[in-house]
Subunit: 150 residues, 12 copies
């Protein structure tokens, strides 16, 4: 049976490509999603992609993933720094998650350095532009393979 | 006329019992709610129970309680530490409120020690598992009795 | 062609006038909005007014303003201090914005002194009661005039 | 066999009712103790009550409770914020304890927000006036019942 | 009788227009003053304008304003962040004051974020270039009108 | 009727004169007490002097002063920096108190700069050697005179 | 030969009595000065009194006191918290100085708790209203007597 | 011409697999290196691998990479948190670098959260066990591809 | 003449062996004392041992040691972190002291890292279980020998 | 045409040589100035020297230097740590400046470590006694030479 | 079979005795080593002694001790406060270690109070001059004996 | 006999001129060294120049300078902020040292503001490009001359 991975995009990412290109590049979310899907196909995993600007929706999407998805690749964007509810949702559902960031959050405003979820996810990928998603997906796949091996 | 108390459960509490049992116990929200209702009946007060994962809904539920409920028993969960809007809603409506927490928040991550509402509620009950709700309800009832006396 | 300005009221402002009059005055939101509209008419600009208690809605309202509004006058209320998503929405859309506060935020709780948007807006007006909106509107108009001149 | 609970009042509480009524109410310690005893009788538990202004006496009273009392309800008053010895006594004897405060410590001076025992007790009740003791007693009783059930 | 408003410019503002144009614009102090006077005439209030590089002179100018001026519009420039004496002068004379800043102080060095007077003035206007003075003046006028109404 | 003033010496002051003369001088506590008594006689007030190394005793001595003494002159020594119980005793009894220190506490270890009672006493005298007591007594006398006048 | 003491009043003290009476009392500076002079006469010392709102003048007045005055009694008011130049002047001239404050600076804004001169003066008197000057003068006199004895 | 990537292992990584398996897994450095080489072969890039326990050697190895390697994948281990010299070497040579960590540094001691190089590398991969190197290598390859495209 | 050493055990140490064995081991205080006495006999020094839960008693025991004991070996337990009075007693009596801790205080709660006496004792021994006392005694003996040599 | 350099001495430097010799040496300001002038003559540059105890005068002296002096060598003394106005004057006039300190400010009180101008001057020389001025002058000369070369 | 203990001296200790005698005494490293060897012989354990000024060498010496030495007595000197690599080496090899310091690090510069290894060693001995090594050795021997007993 | 000065260049300075020219200029280390030597010849002092990327080597080079060099001019580069061992080497050998920095360290990352050696050297020169070495050399020469005079 094929692995299922849920990819979550946080607030304002619907503007990707239109917004601050020196920070986030010129690919639109649509184009990034196509790259994600293509990489997933190539690797033989199934992905579902979800974007929201609402913290409550993100929390409930994670709740709904229990028993259905094997892993989550999440770019919580602004919620990274402000949402304890998101942290609690990840803790509660205990689905292995990979945190990704498009920009290198360590080069930006100090408040972006604090992630409220970084210690409840498996690991973090940050700074590689839209490729952060590809790397995050690959991290999730390797992680599942190691568990099968282990 | 019977007292009316609004009980509010914050984000992720819909997963209660399914989630981190060492932290939150094994009772489901359903079961906790039945205990709350049974205790309320026994004490002769009316309760209405509400759960949400959305900050905006919690704020508006509190707005809507003005003139209808005599007290609020609230477990804001993650919003305890992040929602100034919740604080402002409690300040604005001025309904006497009791803050409850299932786990002892002082035994957990440092950021859980800061409550943005603890100085605008009447008092706080923390650490007694689902019984925190029963104690919170009793606190609200005693509080209303003292006002009648005073 | 007439200038268009979007005026945004943040959470709990729907209770304005009913709530903490020593802090926020006795005018209702309805009455404040009428003053805003009357001042706009007098100055020959068009305004649209929006209130929400939901962070996600505020973010999406700003997204939707791109290409339609020339400026935003925003009182983010509680979100001022907690919403990185709001900051990112303003950064992403790059519509010139004026931040207004009814009360003087520097006379209140320490956590109200930190604004997450003050360095991404053009400027800030704080402490003049409902007149803060009038001054904010005037600031936006002057700002647009200077750009035309410049 | 009946449950035995030790109730401990910390320094200056002998002045209760005479002292800062806006902060602590007008009931004297004598009257509060009578309420505690009456509630205990009603619930079928035995209580012993102890007040001291001496840190060493409080520590030794807790030592002496080992093997005799099933739970402690303690309002350490000023020692809450300054006594590591009290913390160590609670850790050493490992009798389940409930921390209570008459006033809401989160509405007062910043140094009162730090409790040196809050993470070594079962839970905390704060802000309900003398009823905090009644709620603390009830918390201890519920806690013992759950253990019997569990 | 016409309202009288004292406008105070702090240190280094005599160099306005010559100095750091990307920060403060290209209008000279002379030109800004003419705009202030013209706006005052239009609004039917009297203004007196004063610039100083000396903290002691600023303090004494405020002392001398007691009983003569109805309001102060003040841009304390560098003294904003370092002068407790200025704060005390405003507290002592109790003339309603509006604090203005040409640049958006929240976009600059961290020490410029702390204003020693922001909590003793009525309100603050910051970031609108020389128009900050116009807005400050208008704020003072609206403030006086509201008092008359109230 | 003669005024009665209670003079309290805190821990280790029984060693005065024997101990660290470069810090505390060479007068013994006995000699200092004689100076205090002689000054009191000269001014026509009655003094009672008390030294203790026990926080609990100091607290209870203050309790016992209610209704008997008109003022307290207190050098809490080490308890200045560590005793919230002392602070609460002063708050509870509300007897006007003057805080005195033999050495200039601002020239010593940083932790000696924090006094837990300085904001609940009338005023503080620090750094004048044993004369700090004489000045503290005189402060108490002047304070009582002003109240009589006022 | 008679002792000479220089009394220095810092900024805004020229408004004493007119200004914030709940903080500083209702005596004018004129009246306080007369009390100082009368107390000095009574004690057989000569005083010269100086008030300034200018830091530079205060510094230079202290320079000019070298070789002429035996002691300084100084209330630096706002400069207490902001003037390193004042500290350096006291260090440089090495005239023994007594720091006085009319209000209890420990009951006010946090930034008033830091004195830049408290560790370079002999001692500090704070909180006794205008009597702080009388106590400061007496401290200076006792200090000179002890040196003569010693 | 084939891309060349330098892989650097920091101090104590020579003990990998022998050391704290719950933290770092059971693969030896030898085995990890073989995985790295195999992945590189598969992707058609050349890798050179270097381990050192000496900060100076690491600095000089980076100097020596100028003009020879197209990218660096570096796990600085302990030097991450203590070496400004390493940061300066990366800044000076300006070879694009990817920072990798075997364990999730956000789950460990607080001082491990501060990386002195994270804002001078392109991006960071952390927490995926030895797979962090594979992901780091892939990140470097994608990064080079994007530059060719761009 | 034989050297005399005073050994002081702080609060809660009377429970040693009964209390938290993973932290403090299983030897009782009685047994530890016997080891101390046996080691002292072997080394030809006299020891006196004292335990107290009262800060005041500890202070006075140190006062009483002046002129009688050559050195103090002290485990202040909880008072390590909270007692300025203890620090002052050691400073005042100036008897050379060795600070010992049974557990390694650097592995425990952060507030246990601050010792209020560590910079007024000769040295510190921490973390060797009950052997910390033996090492402390030996340190005191070596210290006295070096003084004799020197 | 000869280069012109303005040398500015800050507050209390008029007492140089008379004041704290262990900190500042025994040369008077007069003697230091003669050394400065002699060194300037030797190097063929013109110097003008200015001392003030008034922040406002220092600010205005810098304003007046625009267009006349090629460089400033400034020892702001106490103003180093407290004057944002001085910083703004240097920023506004943009004359290249060298900051000098007679004593090594890093060996003194912590508040002397913060310089409000160090990041707006070209460089800083600190700790070489009166020779700091000579080195500062030489730094200014080298700086001008490099610009001519460049 | 005889126990083997590795004694490590950190940077600059090769200058012992020649360097800052008031801080470190007058014994040379040679002489200290002879004392260590003599004490070891007396106790029947084997010691090997190693000094280095290179962090990398210290790390590798610890690696090389695995399987050969039963315990390490280490004075990391300056590396105590700066070397995470040393900490990791001790964690990785898991050889029981005793940390020793010649001077009392709590009496020195604040940055010397932070030890990066104190929570990964068994215990710490600090302040007894060269005897700290003797006590450290004895601690290691007692520690090994207890393990044999236990 | 000619004075001998040791000039030390810290890590990464071997890349000078090749590296970040906007920060460090375009002169290579070779060229800077020639300037240093030429200035030394002109002033009649002997210099020896040493560059290293290894902390241990720098420490040992300073050890080796005892008795041979009269002064050290040192640019510790990155070690400025991280090496307590370097500080200890300077303290131990007590050779008068001058700290130099090519760039103005106060204009850069916050962690570059902390120098671990600035309070153990005679003085500091910072910000004048390669001329900082020339000024440092001159400072050392003047320092030696003053000692001869003094």
């Amino acid at each position: 049976m094929r692995r299922k991975i849920l990819v979550i995009h946080g607030p304002n990412l619907n503007l990707l490509g239109l917004r601050e290109p020196e920070q986030y590049g010129t690919l639109t979310l649509e184009e990034v999603n196509r790259r994600i899907e293509s990489f997933a196909r190539e690797k033989g995993v199934e992905v579902e992609i979800f974007q929201t600007n609402h913290e409550g929706e993100m929390v409930e999407r994670i709740h709904g993933a229990m028993g259905i998805f094997d892993a989550i690749v999440i770019n919580p964007a602004a919620f990274t720094h402000t949402s304890v509810a998101l942290r609690d949702a990840l803790l509660a559902t205990a689905i292995p998650a990979v945190e990704v960031h498009i920009s290198n959050i360590h080069k930006r405003e100090p408040f972006r350095r604090r992630s409220l979820i970084s210690d409840v996810v498996v690991g973090q990928v940050s700074g590689f532009g839209p490729d952060s998603y590809i790397l995050g997906l690959m991290a999730a796949i390797l992680m599942m393979e190691r568990r099968d091996e282990g």
